[in-house]
Subunit: 405 residues, 2 copies
């Protein structure tokens, strides 16, 4: 069902929904541990108490076989079509760096590189300079080039040679080519407009002026004597949770990237520490003023990326241990799932479906003994697109009207 018909069915209600996202939750059976997944191996008495009374299933973030990045993974969970609603690399990078983007901002990924006297790029990563060097250089560029024409330049250092550049001012647009040869042995191409639009022209002009200023400023900073920029993108204007779902939503997350995507959906942002109990305590704090609380737990994904089975189990157990705090709020709908799978053996995001649990008055009790990848496979929710999860949650919250007479 397209998003518009869904929106037309949304009702007001007093009910409250919790979406608890264990990042990269889904995993694969480990043959050396009796074919168990981390979720299966974890000791989760509190989750086990909910599981039999819940409906289980699996969600596909984008499509079969497609491995999502964190952006599409969360956009889908939030009910946006992750293919139609593409958020540019620069915007995601800026959100991940904790820059609060404003409407109309254009963000780009940037990094230091090495050019020779002829202007040819000899090292696209500037010898992989240390993060401290990057921070110092970014500080100098920021001081020197805070504004070009009527556009403010906002820079933020990342890891190693990487940083983020945000252009903030009137009349900018994201349709601009990369100022990056994408290989060594070539000069840096100037950014140029990819569309016949004054906004793209202006953005390219400002970007090129910034690159020129950076080149002059860095002339004696070999190997970091020039800058590349790519992934220019404008902060998209998404319809918000209030507009779409009549939900006052809060996002509780330790990492800026996830708060950033939530901010695109119009959620109130609540930075917290990484411990699940802190996140759940914050949920109690926002409870009175919100109808929807998104809580992000990063540890499961990090453990998966590191190929650390035990660390993934430990994160799941820490969530379980703190779960009574969340359950004490008595949400009308409690949903536990992930934005994608990050299986320990893969050591990265993957394409495998993600287990999902929904507990609500009318969810239907599947009677599964526990919640994990295998029980989810046989669950009453079936396997469906992540972008449709919000409809399931709204339905369980009795916030959707009948479709048709």
């Amino acid at each position: 069902m397209p998003s518009d018909p869904l929106e037309s069915l949304v009702l007001e209600n007093e009910t409250k929904i919790v979406l608890l996202v264990l990042d990269g939750l889904g995993d694969l059976p480990d043959v050396e541990r009796g074919g168990r997944t981390p979720l299966e191996a974890a000791h989760t008495p509190n989750l086990d108490a909910i599981a039999p009374r819940a409906a289980l299933g699996r969600i596909l973030p984008v499509a079969p076989g497609i491995t999502p990045g964190s952006g599409p993974g969360h956009l889908a969970l939030f009910g946006y079509d992750p293919v139609e609603t593409q958020v540019g690399r620069g915007v995601l990078e800026a959100l991940g760096a904790g820059i609060e983007l404003q409407s109309g901002d254009v963000a780009a990924r940037a990094n230091f590189c090495t050019v020779d006297a002829a202007g040819t790029v000899t090292d696209r990563r500037a010898g992989r300079i240390a993060t401290e060097v990057c921070e110092r250089l970014v500080g100098r560029l920021q001081a020197k080039t805070a504004r070009l024409e009527d556009v403010a330049i906002v820079l933020k250092a990342g890891k190693g040679h990487r940083f983020v550049a945000v252009l903030r001012g009137p009349g900018l647009g994201g349709d601009v080519s990369d100022a990056d040869p994408h290989q060594e042995g070539k000069p840096i191409p100037p950014a140029h407009a990819l569309a016949h639009a004054a906004t793209a022209d202006k953005t390219a002009r400002i970007a090129n002026a910034f690159l020129g200023a950076a080149r002059r400023e860095l002339a004696r900073d070999h190997p970091a004597n020039a800058v590349l920029m790519r992934g220019f993108s404008a902060r998209p204007r998404l319809r918000t949770y209030v507009e779409r779902f009549k939900l006052r939503a809060a996002a509780i997350a330790a990492y800026p990237m996830y708060r950033g995507v939530a901010e695109l959906a119009g959620m109130d942002l609540r930075p917290v520490g990484e411990a699940p109990e802190d996140a759940f305590t914050e949920a109690a704090n926002v409870w009175a003023d919100h109808d929807f609380v998104f809580i992000h737990v990063k540890g499961t994904d990090m453990a998966g990326e590191e190929g650390n089975f035990d660390a993934k189990v430990a994160t799941i157990e820490a969530v379980d241990l703190a779960l009574p705090r969340l359950a004490a709020l008595a949400p009308d709908v409690l949903c536990i799932s992930g934005d994608h799978s990050t299986p320990v053996p893969v050591r990265g995001h993957s394409w495998h479906p993600v287990p999902v649990l929904v507990h609500a008055k009318f969810c239907g009790a599947d009677g599964a003994e526990r919640f994990h990848e295998k029980t989810a496979r046989a669950g009453s929710l079936g396997t469906f697109a992540s972008k449709d999860l919000m409809a399931v949650l709204l339905a369980n919250a009795r916030r959707l009207d009948k479709f048709g007479a």
Copy 2:
């Protein structure tokens, strides 16, 4: 996911994929055999050794309830949307007859019929003449009408009264009406252009000239004294496996129809005998120069069409017996499935989902004891569209980049 985003994620890799298609594999439980399907009843020790370590699931060739022909069934397996990518009847018939279609060729299904002195069709099947008679008459027509204007006419006899006609020359198109009244008691309507296009006009003109010439040649050959033509269609230009997936693909098939569809996808064609061991030996021959090997086994479908449970079991067992030869190639991804179901009790193609097995390093071991319709139902791959199978295979072959940051 639309095909373009998928293509944009395709990576180069050294991995190799085998797609083993047992035509019409899916079946229904036979109550007289303890509710077992042929795949369940077959003795398959080699498949049984792979099954627990594989991911199982089911694929839907077109949509729930839709019974596919062999063309759509294979196009979907090959990753083309079988509804958007329609290949005309004439083209499928020509490919099935083993005619190597060239770009720009227009093909039509043709057959002999009987007309009376007034030109009224009295028998659309010319008294169902014998195949030998058809071959002789087609030979005469071919000798008499090898060329019309600058268009070569290529004919190939089929079974009974049927044959295939291919028009090969510049400026032809498939948008042409049938020269077939579709019922008896009416005259043969001349072919006419269905679009305002010079290509359609020319094709209709050539087709009508051919029909006229055939009528004169066959005047004394009652009951086969005229020809009908229908399903005019141009060989479509599909984006090939190299273009879409960066895969050098080979198609190993005994029957021309399946090589024909594979040829549309740009696969290298390898005709072989019907024995699975011959097909698997040929896979070894093409192994070094290809990244993707499609192997087609026809026996399962033929047995299903005949309603012969034991013959279907025997074909499955023959595949299993030869399987070590294929496994010895150690493909990075081994997929076993079918283009559609041809259940023994149905005695024809059907709409039932088709079991699929995927074995790869990160497929996830479902731990199923065996591979058949029932274990597939509970498999981790779930039930998904056949057209998405290629994405799953590419993902398992580590040939897909992450979608979004």
